[in-house]
């Protein structure tokens, strides 16, 4: 029989590195299922010809540029992480700031993108496909805002010279890269389907 713990003190249990990674990966799985459902519903609406939407070249160009900005943001974060590790986890690099700024620029670009589609006459009330575009973009944006909040938290920890666990820095990066990859897939999907 196992010996017993007699103390009723609280135990705060911290999960290890691999457990944290697995938690993040499984959460990604959940987010992927959410977007797969949205995209499948969108595909069904297109297949059933419930509505028609035409995206012009300018809109696609702006969407492409914002996508590249998000990819750059992801690359910058990766560089900031590499430098942080190289500098023995002591400094915060400019790459980190650029990453956050690019993330915000992407969000502003998204708002402009939606405005362009609305100006083209496709509102969420009149066209279900446009509604889906806004919804999918909006839900992704909500995740992105969550990502930016976490980046903000990380930035605060770093400027306060507080010790940040390497796994946290890495996993925040994973989340940011994941959102970038997710957006790229969504963008390519829209381009192909529409």
């Amino acid at each position: 029989m196992s010996p017993q713990v007699q103390s009723s003190d609280l135990l705060q249990i911290e999960c290890d590195y691999e457990t944290s990674k697995m938690g993040v990966l499984i959460s990604f799985g959940g987010i992927i299922m959410l977007f797969v459902t949205f995209l499948a519903t969108f595909s069904a609406m297109v297949a059933k010809e419930l509505a028609y939407i035409k995206i012009d070249g300018a809109t696609i160009f702006v969407a492409g540029v914002t996508s590249i900005i998000l990819i750059m943001s992801s690359v910058m974060f990766h560089k900031s992480h590499s430098l942080w590790k190289k500098n023995k986890e002591a400094t915060i690099s400019n790459y980190f700031y650029v990453s956050i700024i690019f993330g915000i620029v992407f969000l502003i670009g998204q708002i402009n993108l939606w405005k362009m589609i609305v100006n083209a006459g496709f509102t969420s009330h009149s066209n279900v496909l446009a509604g889906m575009v806004y919804l999918i973009g909006g839900v992704h944006a909500v995740h992105l805002i969550a990502g930016l909040s976490v980046l903000g938290w990380l930035w605060y920890q770093l400027i306060q010279s507080r010790q940040v666990k390497p796994v946290r820095y890495q996993l925040i990066g994973w989340f940011w890269h994941f959102l970038t990859a997710l957006w790229c897939i969504i963008f390519i999907f829209f381009v192909i389907i529409l």
Binding site: D16, E18, T19, G23, M33, L34, T37, V128
Partner: protein, 575 residues
Amino acid sequence: MEGIKMSSSKSIMSTHIFSTDHKTIGKQFLFLGIFFLLFGGFQAMLIRWQLAYPEQPVPWWLFGSIVNGEAGMITPDVYNQLFTMHGTIMIFWAITPLLIGAFGNFLIPLQIGAKDMAFPTLNMLSFWTFFLSGVVLLVSYFLPLGVASGGWTSYPPLSLPAGGIPGLGQAFWTLSITLMGVATMMGAINYVITVIRLRAPGMTYFRMPLSVWGLWLTSILNVIFVPVIAAGLIMLLIDQLLGTQFFLAGRLAAGGGGDPLLFQHVFWIFGHPEVYILILPVWGIVSELLSVFSRKPAFGAKITVICMSTIVVLSSVVWGHHMYTTGMSPLLGKTFMFLTLLISIPSSIFFFNWLATLWRGSLHFDPPMLHTMAVIWVFAIGGLTGLYNATVTADIYLHDTMFVVGHFHYTMAASVLFGGYAAIAYWYSRMFGRMLNPLLSKIHFWGTFITINLVFFNMMATGYAGQHRRLYNIGEFEFLQPLADMNIFITIMAFFLGAFQILFLYNFIHSMVKGKVAENNPWKSNTLEWTMDYPIPHGNFSTIPVVVNGPHEYSNPDVKDADWVCQTVKIGNES
């Protein structure tokens, strides 16, 4: 498990309210689940009153004075709200917290030899998010136009303002289920990772108790399919609140509109796995308890695990059998029928494994075993009647009749209820340090078993005779007149069924205070949760146990002087 920090701060808030101890969280889920079980059950009584005594005032003993209606009677609107909220509450706020929340939390770390869940804080947040979702649902009772009334499936266009249901009740319904989904995801991620990462040394997957297997497979289904319904609910919510038309069509849609059937697909892609999400923990618990109370190894335990896993996979490709009457192509209908009927193969295999476990066992008919045996009975009836619903030709006749209601109450309500009672009776001593009163438990069991069968079996009979499941007043239909007496009988039995649950509640609460103090291992079980003194401290094990044999080594000839052996004690050549 690494990096354990000791804290000396102790307060009611940290130990009982916002505790990160999986056992406390499990008990919180249990209490919340019982509350909603009673609340949802009370609504069932009102539904039955209306079906037996249409448009007659609700009596005082059914709290007639608080029923919103003319002269205390149940109006059609209130009736719609009753069956909507009964289904919703029972599925999402009673069964889910009782089985998955309570026993998932309480058992998984204890049975796999872990100190806690992988993410204790996330676990605590899961409960409080779940609690918040329940509050949002209950708040909707105070809305001017009342609660949701579009059925537990909330199909559009009915569930949309343009489709006929005014007010914010439906939106609150959608919001509360979405919140509940978030809580479920938090819990599911925790369960999945805890099992993968925190098993004690020697606790291989096939040495895990079958109850853990059931809970783990359920969590995997939750992780995969809860986001699917979340997507559908988000679309439904903005249809309800912002006026988009994803699920509106025809003249109800102002600008072309979408397709209501899309919601049905999304709903059932989640909804059918949800059936297994609810029943898998029960299968696991039953498989384990049959072994304990037969004092025999669980027959074909590995095969049972493989069968449950197969069902997990198959459950994701059979949603169309809920939609045979939506005009799907015959080929698609036949495909869904074939896939659905395929589930009967693994189901039958593990069912026969249960019977084989009983065969020539040394059966102990303690209360947990009685409830476990009841699961075998009700699941057999529920499963066999499912074959009719799975078959296109039969289902087109039976669809939306009381036959379906009887069937899914056998599989989901009765099976889960008995499974839950079995689990409570079995692990009560680990949770509260005392035993349930065995006499009251047995009276509760027999009363429940007899009445539940008289209620649900007769429901199937009325359905087969043509009674539609959502009729407000069957007296308005000439062809249903011969069923009036049977409906009265079902209702009276339902009242008795409800009364026996009050007995359970009394026993549950009374035994917590006055029950016989339990010894550490009253059922002589092998699994790890019985190895500690009560109360089990936060952290469970001072040192992580090393597991050397399986969970079902009962009556092993190599073990002398006992018919059980703890999983940490080496026997024979087992290594």
